[in-house]
Symmetry: C2
Subunit: 107 residues, 2 copies
């Protein structure tokens, strides 16, 4: 598994539109076979800071994701909303081991 942690800073006037666009990307991403999680988090202090927590089955899945229409639409839609460039980090998993422990529940 590969986990990508992405920090996004949104201009205050775009917060609602950013969340709508990012929820759509969340839904689309979870429909991908190789995307196990796609959590969207918000800093509660209301400064337009978000964190995306994206869990992929493998490196190929990260590449597949970037070729999807939902990613392309999201990237295009939110471009003007950014207060600063996105920051991305990649991690490998220490725990939990096993793909079943990572896949977001359908419930």
């Amino acid at each position: 598994m590969i986990v990508r942690v992405i920090r996004v800073h949104v201009k205050p006037e775009y917060i609602e539109q950013f969340e709508t666009a990012t929820r759509a990307n969340h839904e689309g991403s979870l429909s991908e076979e190789g995307v196990l999680r796609f959590d969207v988090l918000r800093n509660p202090e209301g400064r337009g800071e978000y964190l995306l927590y994206e869990v992929y089955a493998n490196h190929a899945a990260t590449e597949t994701h970037k070729q999807t229409s939902h990613y392309a639409v999201w990237k295009e839609t939110v471009a003007e909303m950014m207060a600063r460039p996105r920051e991305s980090e990649s991690y490998e998993v220490v725990a939990p081991t096993g793909r079943a422990a990572w896949k977001v529940s359908e419930a």
Copy 2:
């Protein structure tokens, strides 16, 4: 839900011991009713950088966690392993909604 994202920098000579201690904290934490996830991630570049992704049902669950023996043991054990103080951030959830989508699978 409340998500805590914690960055840890470990002295190189303690990496193996840190991972062993943190796996034990992971196991103990998931046995808590209010802890939905406790992911342990490692920067693949081997610099002793880790990220803990802790998902709690509510604020009370974050307080309960700090009173557990597995947390106390972990905190005491890893104290000397730190290359610098831990950095912690808290987030609220935009997506997915619903607790079932957060709870780590037992599988």
